[in-house]
């Protein structure tokens, strides 16, 4: 019996191949049987019939065998792929180890680029992509009202309007309300010092709208706005764990909060949060406000959230609430004239200011990655050209083109994956370090971190990057014919030409991207310096601040509150080092409260009363802040709590509301009541950047807190030569007057001002480092390309020098090439920046998106850097020794 040819293995077969093979095999069997039967004496026809009959189910067998073969072929193919991939991976690993510098540079580049993308994406995911911690959060909308006649500016609702909206709307399944403006809540535990808690007042409708089940107990009920829940409290998971030890029987316990004993009725789950890190939720009691709608309809402080009914769009809800707004405007022209309803998807609102910077930062990170890919593409291209001998040899030994491309791609993708892994580690470490240094850098409602989704993103980015920088060089490498390369012998004299255009196009692209990033970062830096140069209008140096709030049933009348604050300020004013001590209800940069204004002798348009920022002050506030007095006088001993009402205004208010800015001696009325008490303006003080560094001063009214002491929270302001001693004195003073009252938010005024710049500083730091990284990568790219060209053309340079070319002309020859392509890139980059900078327009301050200074500086700077990158390899070309270079080949 002959031995079959074992060495032959089935190549991968098509379906038709398989069918043919099976038919041939079965046919052979039948033929053999027929032949045997004929040999036994049967005639041909009968033999065929018998053979078929003996065989059994021929069709079924045929189908069975084909299916089985197809399956086993597939298995073989998969196994082959895996083996091949293992070979490629092992080969890639060996290649990488043979060229450690190349590997290190590539890994570092990839780690930085992918790390940047991962870090930004982890924030983007948390802020823009992750659902809010409520049931079906996509259906939640925030409902607000507009300023009168200004539908672009939103303000919270007023209590009576909120109740009317809730009753009259048709598109929401419910509308709920909360407010963060209740200030700190003082908790007096049975046997420990009082502590302050952050609390939010919310109604039962709100919990119903958000649809989150409490972990224990229940939330407030929705039976009415004056529900029986007024003496109850719901706890956050964090507070329950931290302060109450996670007591499982906490529901039914009583806590003394702000001097009142409240029943704990529930605990919310760990993830639930409304604003950020609040400890407790108190029932929002609107009874007093609803009893006086004439006044309270103008007081806008209710944050409302609604849930869209099934099938209702945001637009429909907007239209529906618009109808209610119109009705209210007609019904109450004084309070609601010109106002409309503003309905925004809740997530959009929560991400708020962060959306634009985050999108821009992610775009910048992607550009850095593209530059990195261009660099690596260049490196890989040079390297594969250097490896053409090896590749040609492999091809000659039977490796197909596809196989070679796969092998080269495996190398780049593996490199990218390794770089990506390093990048993720970098991103995790970086984010953690950032949050440790500056916990407030990111909004706390959004938990930022690297999780499965972020990892999947990084993996996809790494693979894509590997394929991107690997595919062109790989295709390029196998395109050149095997024979040409082998014939060349080791000389590679034609090598530098191949891929030259591609490499130079890559240089141009890199420069263009880097220039765009530099322009963006430059504009942001200019804005930032402009902002820090803004004249604040006060002097934050050597000023410390602390919040002080009187609570509890003791402080139920204005004289008692006045006595408390007068005593504390009196104690502190005489402490060593204290130069001036005062207090205000709101400090600059901490938000504003507005009131409407009527001026004696000026006709008032009742539906469009002007608004003023309202601040109540005590003691020597202006002296402590060094806010100058422009005209008239400050508050003094002649102003008594029960005497005639005196007020001060700032310059902006004086200019805007009084003829010739002449406000002193004029009388005004504030608040909604057209017949309220007249107040006399006794002085004008300097403007202060109160609403934010990048916003103009608002017209402001200062009242004497002693006359308006119903505001229980004051920020103490101390100008002092020794801030530590001043805070100690303040503590002692408070303790001496009422030991149960805590101090909180102790910080320097510099910090108060600085925190308004924090978000900008954070984004700016990132943008600037991305741009710097981009420039470094692009420079490396240009340097690499030129250095490579020089190294492969030493022979040519040798000849040129031998023929008498001057070193200067050689320098020009090489540098010109690099510079020419960089200039092309620069032109494209400036063009791109002009287009892209418009996206930044909303983020810029004091500088236009086309600021010529920034563009010139970036152009000049990048040209200088590029020129430096060109000169170094060019000088090497001039130092070529003609003799050695010609002999070397």
């Amino acid at each position: 019996m002959p031995t079959p040819t074992r060495s032959f293995r089935f190549p991968w077969r098509s379906r038709a191949d398989i069918a043919r093979d099976v038919d041939a095999e079965l046919g052979f069997h039948l033929d053999m049987r027929v032949r045997e039967l004929i040999a036994q004496g049967h005639d041909a026809g009968a033999a065929r019939r018998m053979a078929r009959e003996e065989f059994g189910d021929l069709e079924g067998t045929r189908a069975y065998c084909r299916a089985a073969d197809a399956r086993s072929d597939r298995a073989v193919r998969a196994a082959d792929r895996l083996t091949e991939w293992r070979q490629d991976a092992r080969y890639a690993w060996r290649t990488m180890r043979r060229t450690p510098t190349f590997a290190a540079v590539s890994l570092l580049t990839l780690a930085l680029a992918i790390g940047a993308n991962t870090a930004i994406f982890s924030v983007v995911r948390a802020v823009l992509l992750r659902p809010l911690p409520y049931a079906d959060p996509g259906r939640l909308v925030a409902a607000m009202e507009s300023w009168p006649g200004n539908p672009g500016n939103s303000t919270p609702m007023s209590p009576p309007n909120y109740v009317d909206y809730r009753a009259q709307q048709r598109t929401l399944s419910d509308l709920g309300a909360y407010t963060t403006a209740i200030g700190p809540v003082v908790w007096r535990p049975d046997n420990a010092d009082p502590t302050t808690l952050t609390g939010i007042a919310a109604d039962g409708h709100l919990f119903h709208v958000l649809g989150v089940r409490p972990q224990l107990g229940r939330t407030f009920d929705t039976t009415g706005d004056t529900a029986g829940d007024s003496s109850s409290v719901v706890l956050s998971y964090r507070f329950w764990q931290r302060a109450l030890g996670g007591d499982p029987r906490v529901v039914g316990r009583r806590l003394v909060l702000d001097g009142r004993s409240l029943d704990v009725i529930g605990v919310m789950p760990r993830t639930f949060v409304l604003d950020h890190d609040e400890d407790i939720w108190l029932p929002l009691d609107l009874r007093d406000d609803l009893a006086r709608p004439a006044i309270t309809r103008k007081q806008h402080w209710i944050d409302a959230i609604g849930r869209l009914r099934p099938g209702v769009t945001v637009e429909a809800a907007r239209a529906d609430l618009g109808v209610v707004a119109h009705r209210l405007a007609t019904q109450y022209p004084d309070a609601d004239g010109g106002r409309t309803a503003i309905v925004t998807p809740l997530h959009q609102l929560a991400a708020g200011d962060l959306r634009t910077p985050l999108v821009l930062l992610q775009a910048a990170a992607v550009m850095v990655l593209l530059i990195a890919c261009a660099n690596l593409m260049n490196l890989t291209l040079s390297r594969t050209i250097g490896r053409r001998q090896e590749l040609a040899l492999r091809a000659a030994l039977g490796a197909g083109r596809g196989r070679l491309v796969r092998q080269l791609l495996t190398e780049s993708v593996l490199m990218a994956l390794a770089g990506g892994a390093l990048g993720v580690a970098l991103a995790m470490a970086g984010t953690r370090a950032l949050l440790r240094v500056d916990p407030a850098a990111l909004p706390p409602l959004f938990p930022v971190g690297v999780d499965a989704q972020v990892l999947a993103f990084s993996l996809a980015v790494s693979m894509a990057a590997g394929a991107l920088f690997g595919v062109l060089p790989a295709l390029h490498a196998v395109r050149t014919g095997v024979h040409d390369v082998l014939k060349e012998g080791g000389r590679g004299s034609s090598a530098p030409r191949s891929g030259a255009t591609l490499r130079r196009a890559l240089v141009a692209t890199q420069v263009a991207l880097a220039v765009m990033l530099l322009v963006g970062a430059g504009l942001l830096i200019r804005s930032f310096t402009e902002l820090t140069r803004v004249r604040l209008g006060f002097d934050p140096d050597h000023v410390v601040t602390a919040q002080l709030r009187v609570t509890g049933p003791r402080y139920d009348s204005i004289p008692i509150i006045n006595a408390f604050y007068d005593a504390v300020l009196g104690e502190v004013a005489h402490a060593p080092g204290v130069i001036a001590a005062g207090a205000a209800t709101l400090l600059p940069m901490q938000g504003t409260i507005s009131t409407s204004l009527r001026i004696e002798g000026q006709p008032a348009d009742e539906s469009h009363l002007p608004d003023m920022t309202y601040v109540a002050i005590r003691g020597r506030y202006f002296e402590a802040m060094r806010i100058p007095l422009i005209a008239g006088r400050r508050f003094d001993a002649t102003d008594t709590p029960d005497g005639p009402k005196r007020v001060l205004v700032n310059e902006t208010a004086a200019r805007r509301f009084f003829r010739n800015g002449d406000a002193v001696g004029k009388r005004i009325r504030i608040g909604p009541n057209p017949n309220g008490e007249w107040m006399t303006v006794v002085g004008v003080v300097g403007d202060v950047r109160d609403a934010g560094l990048d916003l103009p001063p608002t017209p402001t009214l200062f009242v004497d807190h002693a006359q308006e002491a119903w505001q229980h929270t004051l920020s103490m302001v101390l100008r002092t030569s020794d801030s530590r001693a001043a805070i100690d004195a303040l503590r002692r003073g408070v303790k001496a007057v009422d030991p149960a009252t805590p101090l909180r938010s102790i910080q320097s005024m510099d910090a108060v001002v600085g925190s308004s710049l924090d978000a900008r500083r954070f984004a700016l730091g990132l943008a600037a480092s991305f741009a710097g990284l981009a420039l470094v990568l692009a420079t490396l790219g240009i340097y690499g390309v030129l250095a490579y060209e020089v190294s492969t053309r030493t022979r040519e340079f040798g000849v040129r020098l031998a023929l008498g070319a001057s070193p200067g002309s050689m320098l020009a020859l090489v540098a010109r090439r690099g510079l020419a392509w960089s200039l092309v890139g620069l032109a494209f980059g400036i063009g791109g920046a002009v287009t892209g900078a418009r996206l930044l327009a909303g983020t810029l301050y004091g500088v236009g998106p086309l600021d010529p200074g920034t563009y010139t500086l970036v152009a000049a700077g990048s040209l200088a850097v590029v020129a430096a990158a060109c000169i170094v390899p060019a000088r090497r070309a001039t130092r070529v020794d003609p003799l050695t270079s010609i002999r070397s080949e």
Partner: protein, 110 residues
């Protein structure tokens, strides 16, 4: 050893084929002739069952196949026992022997 009858029958054909190939590589027709001859016609397996079994065994990598030339100079598909097939034959034979002994013990007249 809990097997349904059809599995048992398939198993029977499988083990017979493996045993046949333990001798030398063969094509399907030769296997059927070998089985006829070895069992004096008692264990003749029809073509359908034989080829289904062969392809099944190939899928399970117990045998491998290659095209070769038959004794009368025709292209034929030859099957060879793989290492896994050889191991399979050993364990299955042991199982079968135990089974057959048990059955004959039960069937033996008391």
């Amino acid at each position: 050893m809990a097997r349904t009858p059809s599995e048992l029958l398939q198993g029977t054909v499988d083990i017979l084929i493996l045993r046949a190939l333990a001798w030398e590589p063969m094509h399907g027709y030769a296997i059927s002739r070998w089985l006829d001859a070895r069992s004096a016609g008692v264990l003749s397996v029809d073509g359908a069952a034989l080829y289904q079994a062969l392809h099944r065994l190939e899928e399970r990598r117990l045998v491998s196949a290659s095209w070769g030339t038959s004794e009368n100079n025709r292209k034929a598909k030859y099957y060879t026992l793989t290492a896994a097939g050889r191991a399979g034959l050993r364990t299955e034979s042991a199982v079968w022997k135990t089974y057959a002994e048990a059955v004959s013990k039960v069937l033996k007249p008391a």
